[in-house]
Each structure stands twice: as C-alpha cells, then as structure tokens.
C-alpha cells in the first residue's frame, strides 16, 4: 500500500499539531503548578517572618518588663532605703528642743517633703511592677488601678466582668498585656478624650477574652493619628502587645466618644 505525498503531509501535519497542542497544554499546566508553588513559598516565608517578628516583639516586651522590675527594685531598695534613713535622721531633729523657730519650721518642712518622696517612690515602683496583678490577678489589679486614677481625676470609671471571677488567673503574659493595654487606654482617655465616664467590660467565653473599653469623650480619627508620626505610639504599642498574645483590636467611633473592642483568642484560664 503506497501513500501519496498529500497523505504523508496531512498525517505529518496532524501529528505536529497534536504535539504543539500538547506542548501548550503542558506550558499552562506547568506554569500554574509553578505559580501555586510560588504562592505557597511566599506564604511560608511570610509566616516565618511574622513568627520571627512576634518573637522579637515578645523578647522586647520581656526586656522592658525586666527593666521595669529592676528599676522598681532599685527605687524601692536603694532610694526608698535612703529616704527612710533620712526620715529617721529628720525625726531625731524633730524630737530635739530647738530655740530657733525658723530651723524648727525647716525641719518640719523637710519631714513633709521626705514623706511625700517616700510615697512617690512607692507609687512609682508599684506602677512599674503591678504587684497586685502578680499576686491577686487581673480583676483586682484593674479595680485597684481604676480606684487610684478615679481619686486623682474627675472621670467616673465603671468596670464589669463576666465569666471571670476575682480568683481567675491566666497566663502571666496575657494578664500583663491586658493590664498594660488597659493602663494605656486609660492614660490616653485621661490625656486626650475629655471624657467624664469610662466603661470597661471584660468577658471570657470559650477560651476567648473580650474586652470593651468605651469613653464618652471627643473621640479621635485613627487615620489622623497614624498619619502623624509623633502620635499614635500608644495604639501601636497596644497592637504590638496584642500580636504577641493572638489578640486583635477594633477601634470604633460611635456618636460620642471612642470604643475599643479587643478579642484575645486561645486564652486559657489557669486552675
């Protein structure tokens, strides 16, 4: 059986076309595979970078806490002790009969100043390391903190906690972060909000901690804060702390004031 040149040509061209189409299909398949691989690699790279950033942040926060602790200890043990010695010496002078009334007045003034300094050192060292938080937990520490600032300001603080008892304890990292965040938000409200009332609700459900912090002040624009490099450090600090403990913050601007909604997932209560 002899084929004509036309038959050979058509057959040959058909085979070539088949190979071309196969090659094109292969290119599409392989390129898609490569693209998916690239995406996967990028995602893995991003996850590693994120984890690294988180660890870095965690370390930086830990160093910060260690430094605070050292500072508080130094203040309490060194400066506090010196002030106590000074107070004792001054007390000796107070007990002595003095003829000169002006010197007597000076000694009494010194006594007042020393007492004030001792109180201040105690207060600063207590602020630096929240002993109540470490010893009695989040609820006590928040209540104590609110009572303290309520005394020194005209703002009314309202604190509600649901599904968290006063004895509830969480991981130290979580407790400290939540407490520092509340401190930061309260300080911001005191400085900028012109609010007369601050509400804090703390809830714990299904291993998720919910925190709502709301004030009735003037409110603020997050965009403006972020645009200004000199401001917004507090918010960034809160975000950094939250990223370490798997938390997220939502900033809402209701009709009046500001509302912060924080959610911390994978949060376990310690027995």
């Amino acid at each position: 059986m002899k084929f004509s040149i036309e038959t050979y040509l058509i057959l040959g061209t058909s085979i070539v076309i088949f190979f071309i189409l196969s090659f094109i299909v292969f290119v599409v398949y392989y390129q898609r595979k490569q693209f998916k691989l690239e995406i996967k690699q990028n995602e893995e790279k991003q996850a590693i970078e994120l984890e690294f950033q988180k660890k870095l942040l965690e370390n930086s926060m830990e160093v910060q806490e260690i430094e605070r602790r050292r500072l508080a200890k130094d203040l309490h043990d060194e400066v506090g002790a010196l002030l106590s010695v000074l107070k004792m010496g001054n007390n000796q002078l107070v007990k002595k009969e003095m003829e000169d009334e002006s010197i007597k007045q000076l000694v009494n003034n010194n006594k007042e100043l020393i007492d004030e300094s001792i109180g201040l050192v105690r207060s600063i060292s207590k602020d630096l390391v929240p002993q109540t938080l470490e010893n009695f937990g989040l609820i006590h520490a928040i209540e104590e903190f609110f009572n303290k600032i309520e005394k020194n300001s005209s703002i009314e603080f309202k604190f509600l906690h649901k599904n968290i008892s006063e004895k509830s304890r969480f991981a130290p990292k979580v407790e400290l972060s939540v407490f520092r965040i509340i401190q930061e938000l309260s300080n911001n409200a005191l400085k900028h909000s012109e609010a007369s009332k601050i509400d804090l609700i703390l809830n714990f459900e299904n291993n998720i901690m919910f925190l709502i912090f709301a004030d009735n002040g003037v409110g603020f624009s997050m965009e403006e804060v972020l645009r200004n490099p000199s401001s917004g450090l507090g918010i960034r600090n809160i975000e950094s702390r939250l990223s370490i403990i798997n938390g997220a913050i939502k900033i809402l601007n209701p009709e009046k004031g500001t509302r912060f909604e924080i959610e911390i997932s994978d949060c376990h209560e310690k027995n």
């Binding site: 061209t13 070539v16 071309i20 090659f23 599409v28 898609r32 490569q34």
Partner: protein
C-alpha cells in the same frame, strides 16, 4: 481590466476556493477585537495589532493580481518572508534582555538576507521559507520556556501574549512541513492539485493563528483588571 471585472473575478475565485477567502477575511476578527480593546492595549498587543493591519493590507494586492491573472508568486513568497520577519520583530522589540536580543537579531539577519537573496533571484522562491518558520517557531518555544520560569502570571489563560505566542507557535510548526514540501512542489513534477492543497492547508492554519490572536485581544481587558487588583 475594469474595477467591476476585478471584483467579479475576486468573487469567482472566493467561491471556487473559499479557503482563500476565509484566510483573507479571518484577520478582520482580531482586528475588530483589537479595536474594541484598544484602551487596554500593551506594547506587544499593539505590535500584533499592526501586524494584522500589515497582513490585511498586503493581502489586497494578492487578490487583485490573482484576479488580473498576473503572476504573483514572488510577491506571495516575499509576503510570507515579511510576515515571519514582522512577527520576529515583535519579539525583538518586546524583549529587553541583551543576550536574547543578540540571538533574535541574528535570526532577523538570516531572514533579511534570505529575503534579499530571494528578491534578486539568487535562491528559488519559497524554497527556504521552512527555515524562517523554524527560526520563528523556536523563538516561540523559547518564549514559553521562559514563561514557565517566570511564575508571576496569575492566570496564563488570561495573559494576552500567551495567546499571541500560541498562535505564532501553532502557525510556525503546523506549517513547517508544508513549507518544507513546497520546495518539491516547485522543483519536481508534483501535480498542480498538490500545490493547491498545500496552500489551502496553509490558509486554514494561518486562520487558526488569527483566531488565537483574537482570543489574546479579547483577554486584554481581563488581564488589565487582574493587574490592577
């Protein structure tokens, strides 16, 4: 010969050999799609668009000379040479890498020299067209190999140059055997019928290239939308 007579003759040829009519009319499809998607045109799509314009314009003299029964074999072979040179120029202008451009330039030089030699009758008409499509086809294959190594394109099927390159690749390798056998159709005693069969298949395969070009133009908008996302 009057214009009406030429037109009548063109219609008669078109009716007798519809594949030639299809081969000449099909480039209008990517041309129209290209006009509609002009807003999203890229550098390469613009070059392909001008190639289509070139193809349509150079096809008109073929029809007229055929209708007037003027021997246009040299013109046709020169046109095929020009098509290959034009398509290779698209790659040459679109590719920035120096070493690649040297290779493309050498290919262009080979084609250019071939065209000049053919025009001066030093080599036989259409005898070495297969070398041109082989060179152009290898560039299209090389482009796909490069594309595989560049996995930044989200969806290849929406990427216009994928379709343009597929069209060129299809045209080159599917017509390779035909162009290769052309030399025998000229020199040996192969029947006239075989020669017409060769040309008919060539017309259909060229039409496929233009359909793929049309798909490429159609995807210009989608590709632009993906890029802006």
């Amino acid at each position: 010969m009057q214009l009406s007579q030429i037109l009548d003759e063109i219609i008669r040829i078109s009716t007798k050999y519809p594949e030639y009519a299809v081969g000449s009319l099909i480039p209008i499809l990517p041309l129209v799609v290209g006009i509609f998607t002009k807003k999203y045109a890229t550098k390469s799509s613009k070059l392909i668009f001008w190639f289509i314009v070139f193809f349509i314009l150079t096809d008109i003299p073929t029809w007229i000379t055929t209708a007037m029964d003027i021997n246009n074999l040299l013109y046709n072979d020169t046109k095929i040479y020009s098509i290959n040179i034009f398509l290779l120029t698209v790659y040459f202008l679109g590719i920035k890498r120096g070493s690649d451009r040297i290779v493309l330039f050498s290919f262009l030089s080979i084609m250019g020299i071939g065209l000049v030699l053919q025009l001066f009758g030093i080599i036989e008409k259409g005898k070495y067209n297969w070398i041109n499509v082989l060179l152009l086809g290898s560039v299209a294959v090389w482009y796909f190999v490069r594309l595989i190594d560049y996995p930044k394109i989200r969806d290849l099927l929406v990427y216009p140059f994928f379709w343009f390159n597929s069209g060129i690749l299809f045209y080159c390798f599917s017509t390779l055997l035909i162009f290769f056998f052309f030399q025998y159709s000229i020199t040996s005693d192969i029947k006239n019928q075989t020669f017409f069969l060769f040309r008919s298949i060539l017309e259909y395969l060229t039409s496929v290239m233009f359909v793929l070009f049309a798909i490429g133009f159609w995807n210009l908008k989608k590709n632009a939308q993906i890029k802006t996302k």
